[in-house]
Symmetry: C2
Subunit: 282 residues, 2 copies
């Protein structure tokens, strides 16, 4: 850690970040911590473009590894979601050095593909939470402020309200977790409270992904599932006739997984931080 | 088998079939086989409706089992796709009797969820191929005629051109197979030529599902992958920059699975029949 403040490296393993959002994030961090401003190092890769992605796979994986393996950086912060993190998994896992495992990693949505994979390697500094791109949302400063409060001070106020040092937790986007099932990068979530959220997916797709997730024998060993917000669900034709909560309850009942109630996470400005594993407030 | 012709039982484990399509299918069968018309028994469940589905889960599973377990029925033909077959898997597998394993089962798209699950139980009469609902397509008679040629006569002309008794094959919709990965209902496709097709999915979703499928260690034991048609792909924003064939080749390369070329299957009237396992022309 630098004298005065921590150093946060930002990479974009999925979609490209607009440079203006990076500048806005740096200004926000300076205004929040005038005496000990965190150094926000946006890797130039964040602003690159290659079709759907922020640079090609090799470029994005290389940037991720440069930040993850840099001893002078305290935390790796995902810039935004989209799609593409999972494409880097084999490259990233093959290139990690010991410096990578001591860091904090924060992101959500598509970032869950890499967070899940890193969790299979025993990384204990992983967390689901807001990203720079959340500044695009109305009132998005609240989300980014929360992420910084977690990264800079491990502020308990940043955490999802049911997170405690007493139990294991993890949080995923439903579709992203569905695509980890049955791969070598599916994390062992035995005994964890698993929090799930979704955005912009039809209800029949949410149902299908939950059928998939809860059908996996290892997932059936979670302590329980909490449902975050499922937002911007396109209309189903015909109407699906069930809410997201009803759908989750159905699959919890069918699979013998306890349904534990709502989780305060989602693709919105109220998205809270959920550490992977046991909470460390060090 | 009845004197004169076979008996085909039709059920709809996913979405509802319009009664007019059932009548049209029966007329077509009579006109094609005037001397030995197959008896097409559309289970009344096909025409029921419960939200998204053709009746609730219990009703659809019961109908499936009534047909599957009926000694007097030679083949179970899926009426149409949509979404819902996978919701019935545990109920169906628990209710099968020995009469079920001697039958032919024909369907595709969402039906793959149950075909895959039945394949895990050693059923050897499963096949991917057209359904009654294909009559809705312009020129759809060709597809249904092909399905009947397979069901009634095991006509070699109905088969995908690379299918032979010399090798093992299977065919799936990409998204449907992705949702079987890592579940107890994921079939063992070791040594099989795996044919894949897709409809109405964004290219980034096709990419993500193929990353998922080819990441599964058991899938990496297939003999190779053939790509069927990927149709009605919505525009990607930004443009994905790769065709479906490029995407499949990429994931085959990355996973060490041989890419074997195109397959003559898809959500269209040219969709050919692909038996699961080894071709039996008995």
């Amino acid at each position: 850690m630098r004298p005065g403040g921590i150093t946060i490296g930002i990479v974009a393993p999925a979609s490209r970040l607009e440079p203006a959002l990076a500048e806005k994030t740096i200004e926000l961090a300076r205004s929040l911590y005038p005496d000990r401003p965190p150094e926000l190092r946006f890797h130039p890769q964040c602003f690159m473009s290659s079709g759907h992605f922020a640079g090609d796979d090799e470029t994005r994986a290389q940037a991720f590894l440069e930040v993850a393996n840099d001893e002078s950086i305290d935390a790796l912060w995902f810039a935004r979601g989209g799609y593409g993190s999972g494409r880097l998994t084999e490259r990233v896992l093959a290139g990690l050095t010991p410096a990578a495992s001591g860091k904090t990693y924060l992101g959500y949505s598509d970032a869950g593909a890499l967070l899940g994979a890193l969790y299979t390697r025993g990384f204990d500094g992983l967390a689901h939470g807001p990203m720079s791109a959340d500044l695009k949302r109305e009132g998005g400063e609240a989300a980014v402020k929360r992420a910084l409060a977690f990264l800079v001070d491990r502020a308990p106020s940043a955490l999802e309200r049911t997170v405690s040092a007493a139990g294991l937790t993890a949080a995923f986007n439903i579709t992203v977790l569905s695509h980890l099932i049955g791969t070598p990068w599916q994390p062992d979530l035995s005994g964890h409270v698993l929090m799930l959220e979704e955005v912009s997916e039809h209800m029949y797709r949410i149902d299908r992904a939950l059928l998939h997730i809860t059908g996996n024998p290892a997932i059936r060993r979670v302590a329980g599932i909490r449902l975050g917000r499922c937002s911007a669900i396109p209309p189903n034709e015909p109407d699906f006739g069930q809410t997201a909560e009803q759908v989750v309850r159905h699959w919890c009942d069918a699979s013998g997984i306890p349904y534990l109630g709502p989780a305060d996470i989602g693709h919105d400005i109220d998205n809270k931080v959920v550490p992977f594993g046991r909470l460390r407030l060090a």
